[in-house]
């Protein structure tokens, strides 16, 4: 009987099997940020176990509230910074070199095919885009990961989603994943891995695959996963070129991390996106999804473009294409946060930041801040945000605030109109299509 990609990763990393189908896995990487790690560090100190299993496999960033907004967040940064220094963790990214973890770590080449990765952050599922098993965990699992380099999971069942058709202009990975969550439901994939396949995924960039995998947790999934291919090799090439004579060699090595043709799936879902149109969420759950057309005219107060879902260079390019030569509606305010310094610099060099600034956007530094209502764009009660982030929970971006999730193209078009609207890239009207 064939195996799924996730099963192959489990089989190659298993160090123990416990009752209840629990498997203890050896970890290739443990990612840490300043919100969920300091309590683990303090607990290790309290237990007189202030050790790390392997400083080279631990990657650390301060990203959630950066720069620190008050003495409490400054203290979280300080605990993390001192811990990284104390244990000689060299991959530590402080302000100036920091970015949103799930954008920064892939950019550094830390996510690889066949890896097992944990982080105290639910959107760790993003790194499955590289053919890794990457899962969000709580602080206790993180603590054990830091100390022992192991983590326990239920053996995964996989839902395979074959995405077919051709993405219409103005429709993006964000629209695809939102429409899928609408179909599967917020707990439709709980305890499961979602494996993406089909021609649409094969044609997608790593950035788009990360957007897909990033939101699988919103359907309850443990991890999203895409089998590695030449796109994966090309993305990782700067980090692996010393190991392989040519990209073809890397591809051959990576391709062992693919599901067998006769692999057994929990379910196989066909999702044709040929007729998909841009979508947006309407309620307080990410599976409450409608066509932008149906929500057109809904007033908003703030537009936020950024986050681990849609703060990458492709996202900023698309938004800039919509914003070029325009100014945002005077009733709204716009905030864009390039997700990493590299993206920020690229956007600067490509003239994208100038387009945002001319349109009236505020360009902030890379940080998670506004997405979870911690800093850099928190909503007031009764305010509405058009956002490229991943959660529309009640009060997520500020108590009493409302969030509509959408693609960067739709968010940019909404900024110009002041109300939810489709982009001209989709409608084919205007001069920028």
């Amino acid at each position: 009987m064939g195996k799924t990609l996730a099963q192959k990763i489990f089989d190659s990393h298993r160090i123990d099997s416990l009752s209840g189908n629990i498997q203890v896995l050896r970890l290739d990487a443990v990612f840490c940020h300043e919100i969920t790690t300091p309590i683990a560090i303090n607990d290790l100190i309290r237990r007189d176990k202030d050790r790390v299993f392997d400083p080279a496999k631990i990657k650390v960033v301060i990203d959630h509230v950066s720069p620190a907004k008050d003495s409490k967040t400054a203290t979280q940064g300080k605990i993390l910074r001192q811990w990284a220094r104390r244990h000689h963790i060299t991959d530590f990214f402080d302000i100036g070199r920091n970015g949103v973890c799930h954008a920064l770590f892939p950019e550094k080449g830390f996510a690889r095919p066949g890896f097992t990765i944990i982080m105290g952050d639910s959107h760790t599922c993003t790194h499955g885009a590289f053919g890794a098993f990457a899962a969000g965990v709580g602080t206790t699992d993180l603590e054990v990961g830091i100390l022992k380099g192991v983590c326990a999971f239920r053996a995964p069942e996989t839902i395979k989603i074959n995405i077919t058709g051709k993405l219409p202009p103005g429709v993006y990975a964000k629209d695809v994943i939102l429409s899928l969550i609408g179909k599967v439901g917020v707990n439709g994939a709980t305890n499961k891995v979602i494996e993406f396949g089909g021609p649409v995924v094969s044609a997608m960039s790593m950035e788009a695959r990360m957007t897909l995998c990033n939101m699988t947790v919103e359907a309850g999934a443990t991890c999203g996963i895409c089998a590695p291919d030449m796109t994966t090799v090309n993305y990782l090439w700067p980090f692996i070129q010393a190991d392989y004579a040519a990209p073809a060699g890397a591809l051959a090595a990576f391709e062992i991390w693919g599901s067998d043709p006769d692999a057994v799936y929990d379910a196989v879902i066909a999702h044709d996106i040929g007729k998909l149109e841009p979508v947006v969420t309407f309620g307080f759950k990410p599976d409450q999804v409608k066509a932008v057309r149906e929500m057109a005219g809904t007033p908003v107060d703030q537009i936020y473009i950024g986050s681990c879902t849609n703060g990458r260079i492709e996202d900023l390019r698309v938004a800039a294409r919509v914003l070029k030569g325009k100014t945002i509606n005077e009733q709204v305010r716009g905030i864009v946060s390039p997700a990493t310094p590299k993206i920020y610099e690229q956007a600067m060099q490509e003239g994208i930041l100038q387009i945002f600034l001319s349109a009236g956007f505020c360009v902030t530094n890379p940080t998670c801040g506004a997405c979870l209502g911690m800093s850099n764009g928190v909503l007031a009660k009764g305010e509405v945000c058009a956002s490229t982030t991943n959660r529309n929970f009640s009060g997520r971006m500020g108590r009493g605030g409302m969030v509509h999730l959408m693609s960067p193209a739709t968010a940019a078009a909404t900024a110009v109109a002041g109300v939810i609207t489709n982009s001209e890239i989709f409608t084919g009207q205007g001069g920028n299509s």
């Binding site: 416990l18 309590i39 952050d121 709580g138 699992d141 022992k148 309850g220 009640s394």
Partner: protein
């Protein structure tokens, strides 16, 4: 082992997320006890009014997909800070469920019909619950009437509860 007995708080909605259990604005705290006053602060559910409706409660009974959203272990910690160590529901988000057992607490799943019947019979009453951990049994009591309900728990989860959590268990073993 932690206490799993006491007065029951019924939360009659599915998909109660971790932002509702403990909003992100409190994630800057570096101690578990600092979270105590803010448990369920952003949950809007009928006339539910935290923190007054939480005082004295020791068990939560709710619907499906409780604890969805963020990985924050602050959600179980906020419950723990209020001496609530047991949540019973139709289903739980994976990370929340694991976090509960990792802290030596319990997230127990019961069939939808059972949960439904508990809400019907007990939600409007002053209800207490007693846990017989060895016999996998809850005894739910209101107005002198009680009902026994069996639950299942994996050996691994049982070990975590007995060990007081995953750190002690894993450190001794790996």
């Amino acid at each position: 082992m932690k206490n799993f007995d006491g007065s029951v708080l019924f939360l009659d909605r599915s998909d109660i997320n971790t932002d509702e259990i403990i909003p992100a604005r409190y994630l800057t705290e570096n101690s578990k006890n600092a979270l105590k006053p803010f448990l369920l602060e952003d949950l809007e559910l009928g006339d539910f009014s935290p923190p007054k409706d939480i005082v004295g409660k020791r068990v939560v009974i709710t619907r499906g997909n409780f604890g969805c959203g963020s990985s924050r272990e602050h959600a179980p910690w906020a419950l723990e800070a209020n001496q609530i160590h047991l949540v019973i529901g139709e289903s739980f988000a994976r990370i929340f469920r694991q976090n509960m057992f990792n802290c030596g607490m319990m997230a127990i799943e019961l069939p939808a019909e059972t949960i439904d019947s508990l809400f019907r019979k007990f939600a409007k009453e002053d209800t207490t619950l007693e846990t017989d951990f060895e016999k996998n049994k809850f005894i739910i009591t209101a107005n002198g009437v009680n009902e026994k309900i069996l639950f299942s728990i994996s050996d691994f989860d049982r070990k975590l509860v007995n060990a007081g959590g995953w750190v002690d268990y894993a450190d001794g073993k790996y």
